[in-house]
Amino acid sequence: MLEARELECERGGKALFRHLGFSLAPGETLRVAGPNGSGKTSLLRILCGLLTPTAGEVLWNGASIQSLKEDYARHVLYLGHAPAVKDELTGAENLRVSCVLAGLSPSAEQTREALARFGVPGDKPVRQLSQGQRRRAALARLAVSWQAPVWLLDEPFTALDAAAAELTRTLLGEHAQRGGSVVYSTHQDAGLHDSRVIEL
């Protein structure tokens, strides 16, 4: 169970949000909505522990994530704005590296399957792929990260075509059904109807 208490975030001397609190039970999906510059990315970065909130704290099963560190990180999949894939490596290598960094060890078969689901060529350096394909290569992690209960996704639907967006929606739905929690941000309604919304 992920819980945010009295979160406050200040960037460049301006308060983005104050007294923000919510809790997310297993199986729940939360959409963070709001215009550009309203602090969606900051909130997600606070939730994954990259950013320290100006005030308030984030709790994972009752313990502060600041004190848990790696023990919390193991439970989290965070996908930020940048696709987090290395241009020099192939899709398959990228997926394996990011999984091992996150403490997961998918088999070669699972990696291949995940890339195939997203239609990413596994043997080409990512440099040769288009922007959208890079994004897919990054999102392929969703298909092998079911062991991480908390998914924090920053604008997962940008630069995706309809088919990839649909697949992402399916994966998010499946994860929630398995009892995972998902927090994601979008400007527009992504069509996941059973998700709660917080407006920043």
């Binding site: 990259l50 990180a73 290395k86």
Partner: protein, 216 residues
């Protein structure tokens, strides 16, 4: 895994690796051309020049240590990784050394040939670099992490890191000079070894703390 990844990336960007090494070779080769081919003078400056070149070349490749990972978002994934960040930072430093430091150790005797250094000193020169260059990678990692995302970070990095390299330079070049004077350079080598142990124990954690700050 991180080491494997780094080496794979370096293999696919061979030009970067080659640039730093060629820089080492060229800087070290400029001195005989500028100073003239007087063997005694060259013999005297050889250890210092080779060490300074190694220092500069190692620093040149520091920029790449975290900057690319920072730009494409993979650094965030490392900060959020399941392994303690200090371990990841140590792996990055090791990979940096394997790509930039170790080849210099191998090339140094060839450069020493240019300076007419006695062949009996090649061993101690290589050994001093073998102990010293990992310290450069470890200390450099702290500087590279601190200057991440800072405008004009390259120059700042040099200002930050070069003074910290001084003890390594003094001991490294000193070991070879002592040996050439017939006094044996064991003392300096032992101190270099001690520096390496201290740096290996503490630098990765300092790098990790710096990375956490710069990824905020």
């Amino acid at each position: 895994m991180v080491v494997w990844r780094e080496l794979l990336v370096a293999m696919r960007r061979r030009s970067d690796v080659a640039t730093a090494l060629l820089f080492f070779v060229i800087v070290a080769s400029l001195f005989p051309l500028g100073i003239g081919a007087e063997p005694n003078k060259l013999r005297a400056i050889a250890p210092g020049v080779i060490w300074v070149s190694a220092l500069l070349s190692s620093m040149l490749s520091l920029n790449r240590l975290f900057a690319a990972d920072h730009a494409d978002g993979t650094l965030e994934q490392m900060v959020l990784g399941a392994a303690p960040l200090g371990v990841t930072a140590a792996a990055k430093a090791l990979a940096h050394w394997l790509v930039s430091g170790f080849p210099m150790v191998a090339i140094a005797p060839l450069l020493a040939l240019q300076y007419d250094l006695a062949p009996s000193l090649y061993g101690i020169l290589a050994l001093s670099l073998l102990l010293g260059t990992p310290v450069l990678s470890l200390i450099g990692g702290i500087g590279a992490a601190l200057t991440l995302g800072v405008r004009g970070g390259g120059v700042l990095l040099a200002l930050l890191v070069l003074p910290l390299y001084v003890p390594v330079l003094v001991m490294g070049a000193g070991a070879v000079e002592m040996a050439s004077a017939g006094l044996g350079g064991q003392g300096q080598l032992l101190i270099l070894g001690a520096m390496l142990i201290v740096a290996a124990a503490f630098a990765p954690w300092a790098t990790a703390a710096a990375l956490r700050i710069s990824s905020e």
